[in-house]
């Protein structure tokens, strides 16, 4: 078990250190990369729990998807020499208070919960089980959230198209096209 503990402490330390670095870094892309490390370490925790599906989802959605998108938008918008201004006193005070409140809340909740040691070894979750519960309409089925997500995606797509379309007519009145 000692190997597991070492891994756990290593991953936790990585999560904490890189979370702090994400917040205090003054270069935007570095912050994004530290965030990537946090997310990858989190998925490492899931792997330790033998819940590989969630770990892989964490990797695809967050590390492979969200962080890539963030980096992409950073690449499009900012220059390499750009740096954040150090936050003002008021701002940092507020952030500190918010962070402290969150930390205290979660620590209290965790301490409140009675962890019971179980002898059951961590079980590998079967792919079929995940698939079936994702598409089941029973009590613990996920088909409704699944559908809701697809509606949300549809809405996002429509909105994206609408935004892209909106700038269309404005551009057709550009001077060069009149020349043509």
């Amino acid at each position: 078990m000692i190997a597991n503990q070492i891994m756990f402490f290593l991953l936790s330390a990585m999560i904490i250190v890189f979370s702090i670095l994400t917040v205090i870094s003054r270069k935007i892309l570095r912050a994004a990369i530290y965030l990537l490390f946090v997310l990858v370490s989190t998925s490492g925790l899931y792997f330790m729990l033998n819940y590989q599906f969630l770990a892989a989802v964490q990797l695809t959605v967050y590390a492979g998807g969200i962080v890539v998108l963030i980096i992409f938008s950073i690449l499009l918008t900012s220059h390499i020499s750009q740096r954040f201004e150090p936050a003002g006193l008021k701002k940092s005070m507020f952030s500190a208070i918010a962070a402290l409140t969150g930390a205290i809340l979660s620590i209290v909740t965790i301490l409140d919960y009675k962890f019971e040691a179980t002898a059951i070894a961590a079980k590998e979750v079967d792919m079929r089980l995940i698939g079936k519960s994702l598409l089941s309409v029973d009590y613990d089925g996920y088909v409704l959230p699944f559908e809701v997500i697809s509606v949300l995606l549809l809405a996002a797509m429509v909105a994206a198209i609408a935004i892209a379309k909106k700038s269309g007519p404005a551009k057709t009145q550009s001077p060069t096209l009149k020349q043509e």
């Binding site: 990537l36 990858v40 989802v57 990797l59 590390a63 980096i71 690449l75 390499i80 979750v125």
Partner: protein, 362 residues
């Protein structure tokens, strides 16, 4: 079963038990990890160097040339000499570059490579981690290699690199869809995501033969999309020598450049070995129906050879792509993905699901 003579399960088990007898479970784990790590690093280096050599020879033969022929017989030591040269080359620091990210980028690419290599079955029992979501894991991890490319392009503080990185990003993000969907076609067919189970299911026939036309279409799409994902061949827009000189790794020199270079080849190896595992039966030998004698002979070829043979065949095809076709433009690249590969892929998934549902397969 005759080819169980090449079953490595008992061998690895024996190592495990003998280690456990000798030391505590903690140190057993550490030793096993160390052994696996060293083996993978060796494998990585050998395969990388060999692929560089193979690429040169293939391209030379295609172009009516001899290729490397000075160092050693047929120039086999050429890549080693090149590696030594790259090791001794100066690492040029870039002015105004983000030094930390600049140095980090090649390692991200390499680490992602290692994470995928561990999940590939090389033979029965020679399999570092056999997840029950193996394919999903591979898709998930390989989606991260783009981060290294993006970082390299951005932190070099060079416009060529930046254009290369942006192209590469758009390319990898969109082609991941095709890779994923074509693999999902085969997951539907196999009914499992576990790579060892998929390989085992091909004992009676490779999926490309068993899976009718949809499997073949999925194979073709996978090869195309895989080539695109590795930034190779007609899809090497991120490097685009004639436009961007070297794309995202323009500013890299010495061993850091070598990392990118090696990672590109290992990526190709990974794509080819996944194709071999899922479509061509992995380490399973080639069998023809009821030809008992023929099947017996095939069984005596070690699985590792089968696996490597199939992988290198796919690699050869990918190399021929690179040395035959002109490069695509960025919008054509995206058109190919969104207008051709994706719709075909979706229809293909449907057809495959239908075939599996009706039980119309061997």
């Amino acid at each position: 079963m005759p080819f169980d003579i090449y079953d490595f399960t008992s061998f690895t088990k024996w190592i495990d038990t003998s280690l456990e007898n000798a030391m505590s479970p903690f140190w057993t784990t550490v030793t096993e990890m160390a052994i696996a790590g060293v083996l993978f690093i060796l494998f990585y280096a050998v395969v990388g160097l060999f692929l560089v050599y193979a690429e040169r020879k293939v391209c030379a033969f295609v172009q009516n040339r001899l290729g490397p022929n000075r160092l050693g017989p047929y120039g086999i030591f050429q890549t080693i000499a090149d590696l030594i040269k790259l090791l001794f080359k100066e690492l040029i620091p870039i002015k105004n570059a983000d030094r930390f990210l600049f140095n980090l980028a090649p390692y991200i690419v390499i680490i992602v490579n290692f994470m995928v290599l561990g999940a590939i079955p090389y033979a029965k029992g020679l399999h570092a981690i056999d997840f029950n979501i193996g394919i999903f894991y591979i898709i998930a991890v390989s989606s991260m290699s783009v981060i290294g490319v993006l970082l390299a392009g951005w932190s070099s503080n060079n416009k060529y690199s930046l254009i290369g990185a942006m192209r590469s990003g758009a390319q990898i993000v969109s082609y991941e869809l095709s890779v994923g969907l074509s693999l999902i076609t085969m997951v539907i067919f196999a009914g499992s995501m576990q790579l060892s189970v998929i390989v085992e299911a091909q004992r009676t026939g490779w999926f490309i033969f068993k899976g009718h036309i949809p499997a073949f279409i999925a194979f073709v799409i996978y090869i195309i999309a895989g080539t695109a994902e590795t930034n190779r061949g007609p899809f090497d827009l991120a490097e685009a020598e004639s436009e961007l000189t070297a794309g995202y790794h323009t500013e890299y020199s010495g061993i850091k450049f070598a990392f990118f270079y090696l990672a590109e080849f290992i990526n190709m190896f990974i794509v080819a070995s996944i194709a071999a595992t899922i479509f061509l039966g992995g380490w399973m030998p080639f069998h023809i129906g009821t030809w008992e004698g023929f099947n017996r002979i095939m069984d005596f070829v070690p699985p590792f050879i089968w696996y490597l043979g199939k992988t290198f065949f796919v690699i050869w095809v990918i190399m021929l792509f690179k040395w035959t076709f002109p490069r695509l433009r960025i919008d054509q690249l995206l058109t190919l993905e969104w207008k051709y590969l994706l719709p075909i892929n979706l229809v293909n998934v449907l057809i495959m699901a239908f075939i599996v549902l009706m039980g119309w397969h061997f």
